[in-house]
Symmetry: C2
Amino acid sequence: MIASAPGKIILFGEHAVVYGKRALVAAVNLRCRVEVKKSQNYLISSPLGKTGLDFKVHPYISFAIRRFHEVKKIEGVEVKVDSDIPIASGLGSSAAVAVATIKALDAEFETSLSDRDIFEMAKQVEIDVQGTSSGIDPFVATYGGAWIFPERKKVDIKQKFFLINLGQKSTAKMVSAVCQLRSKYPEIIDKIFDAIDFLVCEAARCNDLEKLEELISINQSLLRAIGVSTPEIDEKIAKLEREGFKAKITGAGGGGCIYGIVKDRIPEGSLVVEVSYDGAKIEDS
Amino acid sequence: MIASAPGKIILFGEHAVVYGKRALVAAVNLRCRVEVKKSQNYLISSPLGKTGLDFKVHPYISFAIRRFHEVKKIEGVEVKVDSDIPIASGLGSSAAVAVATIKALDAEFETSLSDRDIFEMAKQVEIDVQGTSSGIDPFVATYGGAWIFPERKKVDIKQKFFLINLGQKSTAKMVSAVCQLRSKYPEIIDKIFDAIDFLVCEAARCNDLEKLEELISINQSLLRAIGVSTPEIDEKIAKLEREGFKAKITGAGGGGCIYGIVKDRIPEGSLVVEVSYDGAKIEDS
């Protein structure tokens, strides 16, 4: 059985959302596909290697299988992963692989899990691996579409986005750096989070591309203010601005991806994505 | 008679101060010297040219002379200007020339103006030329030292700063651009101004250079958020960050000067300044 789940981009509001502010997040048409087959043993194959249940090499898949045991005891399973989503780039590859694995296990072992069950289990897997989870990535990977969090309010987004990957980063490290900065300058950082919160609301109701680009640029500046940009990102964005584009970090920053809005052309070396309204689903094999 | 007055740098809080928030501003050891001599005619010599009373070429000096007439009618005066302060770079050259002119006129024509009279007259000159004045530049040029505005609370600042001039800019244009952005996104921009206000307080009581650099970087990001940075400034600051410096715009932005803190070394091509506690004063001729 093959199941797939989408990656996501955080359009606006990353980091502030950790402190209860709003964020606008969309599933995109980059998917992770997971094939599972009943077996006497555990075998996981992915671009990261071939292993058995292995909580270091394949933590999300291994914990997904372990959590699935709470629903149905299984003796073994073969898992094959094939993903369009760059790893550790803020595009939700981990949540997508967890959700797709659970969805495929559910179909293969006929456990009739609801979307809500799949989302909750994938969130639990994130907690197993990361120690914490906002639930945003597994939610978007499960349901697809664009959403305002924490309300989980649906938003309709039509425009396409360009993505540029500037290399891997550690989300945990960036979240902890922001937490430290906030404990040093609580009033300053909380006002910046408030500004981001208003910005997310503005962006969610905005259909004007020029305005959206302005909001992208403001949000990028506010991310820089909380210390998650880098000279490399600043230089890349300055270069894009000279070429007539606006761009911002999507995700934790410190590396990872930047995105902007596709108008008549796209920057060299960028990837075009659009919002995907397909959540976790079974693929024809 | 020769009088001089200092230029200034806005350390933190530019733009927000226009909306009633706090700013930290310091007079620096770059001075404008103005020599005046009684004469039957008006003759103004500066690097901008030789003119009579001329409200286009020498607006600040010409309006200063016109305002001085309210105190004492004079038939004419020769004015010579010699300034260390780069023009139209956010360093308060206009206020310094106005203040130094009034101070020199006061001494030459023995009108016994107080510092307060000189400040008020120079502020009036700014209004004559620009249509508006926060009064900050003429205040600092008159009294010297470092101050929090709008309270006019004295601050003691010991460290030196490096200055890099990235070319002339129009303060009026930048102030108007921020006003437009604020009318488009009032909640977002006001929260950013609130963040800047807290940042100014934090900076005013901070003696730790690392922390001050962090605040410089945050304030620069918030200036970028309100649209007064440029790709050129962003690139220059990114380059400085790679070299281990932090820097921000000082003044209106859109060009002008950036500054940072002098620690063990300074960036290539930068100018070192320190806070000057000398306000307007008579120079030995």
